[in-house]
């Protein structure tokens, strides 16, 4: 994907690491600061959560209304599926989860957003502080897949140029007709150079993997040890991702 250069992105090879970003000036429509804003923090209690972590990153879930963003998040956070017990997300909300990545405690602060188009003008202010974006469509909804292009345009405009981005085709467990073939998702992902998987918040297929992959990538970007082999997110999801053949009705 050809990324628009922004002054912010100049020379920055990593989104998160090594020192705080310049202080924001005054109240001129600032974004929310993820507490350590991706920078290294010595192990200490995270404020508000009570859990310990070494490094923290902000991840955002985006995609059309009803593609399963909240369910994906709850599956990852609590290992549960919200069958008919969840409400449509209005506005923006977040949940934290700490992962152990190769001995490092990585806190993901995961932001869940309303998918309806008109809410984008409210939520895109948060894109620029995101270190990673998970872009979802619903494999049973062609419209949600067709809108991926529009989401990518939005992301190009508002997110950091080096944000970690992953495309997920959710609801792959669904007994409803699959309107988007796996190959279509793969093709689109390839076109934009994105890692891609099909997921199911219901069965849990590839859900932990998506977040773990993001966490590994962000952790290595911020604190790669000399001599440590480079983590490749594309290869990781290709190697570890599972098909849904087990779950088809």
């Amino acid at each position: 994907m050809s990324r628009k250069k922004t002054p912010r992105s100049k020379g920055a090879g990593t989104p998160a690491a090594n020192g705080p970003r310049p202080a924001r000036s005054g109240t001129a429509r600032p974004g929310p600061d993820a507490p350590p804003n991706g920078s290294l923090q010595p192990s200490r209690p995270s404020l508000g959560g009570g859990d310990f972590y070494d490094v923290a990153f902000k991840v955002m879930l985006v995609g059309d209304s009803g593609v399963g963003k909240t369910c994906l998040l709850v599956r990852f956070k609590d290992g549960a599926f919200l069958a008919g017990t969840f409400i449509s997300t209005v506005g923006i909300d977040f949940r934290n989860k700490v992962l152990d990545v190769d001995g490092v405690k990585v806190k993901l602060q995961i932001w869940d957003t309303a998918g309806q188009e008109r809410f984008r003008s409210v939520t895109h202010a948060y894109y620029r502080d995101a270190h990673a974006l998970l872009l979802l469509y619903d494999v049973t909804s062609k419209a949600s897949f067709d809108n991926i292009q529009a989401w990518l345009t939005e992301i190009q405009e508002y997110a950091q140029h080096n944000v970690v981005l992953m495309l997920l085709g959710n609801k792959v467990d669904s007994a409803h007709e699959h309107k988007v073939k796996r190959e279509d998702g793969e093709k689109l992902a390839k076109e934009y150079g994105l890692p891609f998987m099909e997921t199911s918040a219901k069965t849990g297929l590839n859900v932990d993997l998506a977040f773990t992959g993001i966490a590994k990538e962000l952790k290595q970007r911020s604190m790669k040890a000399p001599g440590e082999p480079r983590f490749r997110l594309h290869d990781y999801v290709k190697r570890e991702g599972r098909g849904d053949s087990c779950c088809r009705p």
Binding site: T27, P35, L47, G48, S65, T85, I87, S88, V122
Partner: protein
């Protein structure tokens, strides 16, 4: 799980003891208000705005009169009377697949904790919800359907038990009482969030300074409050008491509620040390006995924030609206 009078399942950790204690006192108030309202409404055909009615409304409209009083005070009744058959014609009119899809997506995600809104309920209020939202989208094409309206329409249906009245009340809220919260640009919503920021800076400067220092956007903290008019934010009974005043006095009531919540918990908020921490505390302040005890809470919203003239709110709105438009 046990179910409240509106059909909502009480959560597993519901504090029955605290609720009983509150409700035994509130029941006395409810009874007294019911007698007063019965006298007020007896004989007179239609409720009209007046200082007496305003005082009565602030003390709470009994559930059995709520639909009638909301309909009268909001102007919804007048609209319904002037447009007989209009709602039915909207339902029979030309469809818009985009609108219907957007509404359908949210049907199962509106009050899954309410037994009357279950798919399996007989009859399920999902059908009424669909009709009201689709009719509204066809009626007000500029707004169409915006997420959040599902929760508002849901409450209207629970209170009125009537689709057509719910439709006209939704029209009163979206079309007249609230300033453009739900249109494609959500300009009124963004404006009011900034207005609340200014009011907090003026009335609760320490909180204003904390939020400015952390550069937290008000949208993050309060967008649900405005978009859902406190549905699923505050307890049901408290929301309905707020709406009593909203239909009679207009949208500045929302600022009164927000300011009261923030002022009451100022010390708690000021202990926050990060943006997520501030967010958590803004969720905490919408729970507990302070908001459950709706009668006391409603007294506080008219005393705690101090004076709040409609003219002052209008000035702030005008300024922020112009700023937002200039920013594009």
């Amino acid at each position: 799980p046990r179910v409240d009078p509106y059909g909502f399942e009480r959560p597993g950790d519901f504090d029955y003891a605290a609720y009983e204690e509150f409700f035994s006192t509130y029941l006395v108030i409810l009874t007294r208000r019911a007698i007063k309202w019965s006298k007020l409404l007896k004989g007179s055909g239609r409720v009209q705005k007046s200082p007496t009615v305003k005082r009565y409304v602030r003390k709470g409209v009994p559930l059995e009169h709520r639909a009638r009083v909301w309909m009268a005070l909001s102007g919804a009744q007048a609209q319904m009377d002037q447009n007989p058959g209009y709602y039915q014609r909207l339902l029979q009119g030309e469809g818009d697949p985009g609108l219907e899809d957007a509404v359908s997506t949210d049907l199962n995600r509106t009050f899954p904790d309410n037994v009357r809104f279950r798919d399996s309920a007989q009859p399920s209020l999902q059908k009424a919800l669909f009709n009201v939202l689709v009719a509204f989208g066809r009626h007000n094409r500029g707004v169409g359907y915006c997420q959040g309206m599902n929760f508002i329409a849901g409450y209207l249906i629970l209170v009125t038990r009537d689709e057509e009245e719910s439709f006209w009340l939704l029209d009163a809220l979206v079309g007249r009482i609230l300033p453009d919260y739900y249109g494609p640009g959500m300009l009124g919503l963004k404006t009011d969030q900034e207005v609340l920021g200014d009011l907090v800076r003026a009335k609760l400067p320490a909180v204003g300074a904390l939020l400015d220092r952390h550069g937290v956007l008000w949208a993050l903290l309060v967008s649900r409050w405005f978009i859902c008019l406190f549905v699923d934010v505050l307890p049901v009974e408290t929301v309905l008491r707020i709406w009593d005043c909203l239909f009679n006095e207009g949208s500045k009531i929302i600022f009164r509620v927000a300011l009261t919540l923030i002022k009451q918990h100022q010390a708690l908020i000021l202990e926050a040390t990060s943006v997520p921490d501030i967010c958590d505390r803004f969720k905490q302040i919408t729970r507990g006995s302070f908001v459950m005890e709706c009668h006391t809470f409603m007294q506080k919203i008219f005393s705690e924030p101090g004076s709040l003239s409609m003219a002052a709110v209008a000035r702030l709105r005008e300024r922020h609206r112009a700023q937002l438009l200039a920013q594009g």
